[in-house]
Symmetry: C2
Subunit: 209 residues, 2 copies
């Protein structure tokens, strides 16, 4: 049973046993929370409004998520497979720095899917006003940045050092974050030359004689 | 009189004549709007709540700002002297690329003053939900990015070309934006090596043989 539990929840802490119906209810609440967070703000983000949008009683919502902070933190963790996991895989798969960098560039020039830009904006705002959300979101951004640090570590290993892969990785991560924020305001921006400058331009600068 | 007017409003379009008392009321409303935008969201951002916080009647608020969008757009323009003007000056003042880059790095490694990070987060969120706010904020970010493009243009002129100053400028601008967002979530980040990588590292990559 322990092995079964761990198999079905490879990336998170173990949760209390919940029935299949309970899992469905939890998923509906998470989807409703995500929709409300990515919405236009006309409906305030409260457990009551999330329950209503998910078609669940407020009492049942409270059973799964006691506070709105619990709901926001759960959304932060739920979007990881769309947001961070593809980047982790692009960096971790075998290859030279040049090969991994091309995979990363290919991933980053694609527009953010669906509601992710609106979600990120709302989550950032809540993070500045709620310490638990801040901690949770900061941990995700750290994971995101570590992908870029790992990428530039590959370059440092190839070249035998000579530069600080952490500074370059943090710079590239900050750049792709900022680019996504600017693109959400201005659809005319072509991300490709900017992403290439951030990944390949920083690499060229680091390894210049 | 015309000269006097232009002297007192060097950077903006000429506004209709408003009495000194009217200017004071407008300034109080702007300060209240800024405080409410940078607040914790417990008080919804409405013209009524801005008027109450500014100690002004709702009718008088409506005289100066007809909608909450008018208030938000006015705040976007009002923070330009704290946010963008210092960067414009650091780039525009005479000097080689290396001298201007050092001025820009010196400016960017300082923490954002006071409530600017909270304001930016709130303004970004409103921009995704209000087309006029989006246009206004996108125009400010364009000004911000053009500073970096101008900086890398100085480098291109020094070197006689050979790279695209726009891509590098956009990359550096996106990086410093993203860095500010990440710093607002994680106070442990040292901005100095990241800013140096973004300005000097990108320059080194561009001019590498």
């Amino acid at each position: 049973m322990v092995i079964r539990d761990e198999d079905s929840q490879p990336s998170g802490a173990r949760k209390p046993r919940v029935s299949a119906k309970g899992e469905q209810t939890r998923a509906r609440l998470l989807a409703a929370a995500r929709a409300l967070l990515a919405g236009d703000g006309e409906v305030p983000f409260t457990t009551r409004n999330v329950a209503a949008l998910g078609g669940v009683t407020h009492g049942m919502c409270h059973y799964h998520f006691q506070t709105r902070t619990d709901l926001i933190v759960a959304v932060v963790e739920a979007i990881r497979p769309e947001w961070i996991t593809p980047l982790e895989e692009a960096v971790a798969q075998p290859g030279s720095f040049a090969e991994r960098a091309e995979r990363v560039v290919g991933l980053l020039v694609q527009p953010e899917a669906g509601d992710l830009d609106r979600l990120h904006s709302a989550l950032h705002w809540f993070a500045l006003n709620d310490e638990r959300v801040r901690e949770s979101l900061a941990a995700e951004y750290l994971r995101w940045r570590e992908c870029f640090v790992a990428l530039f570590q590959v370059l440092a290993d190839e070249r035998g050092g000579g530069f600080d892969p952490r500074a370059l990785g943090e710079a590239a991560a900050a750049g792709t974050d900022g680019l996504a924020a600017i693109q959400s305001l201005d659809a005319n921006i072509d991300p490709a030359p900017v992403v290439r400058a951030l990944i390949l331009g920083l690499a060229a600068g680091a390894t210049a004689p």
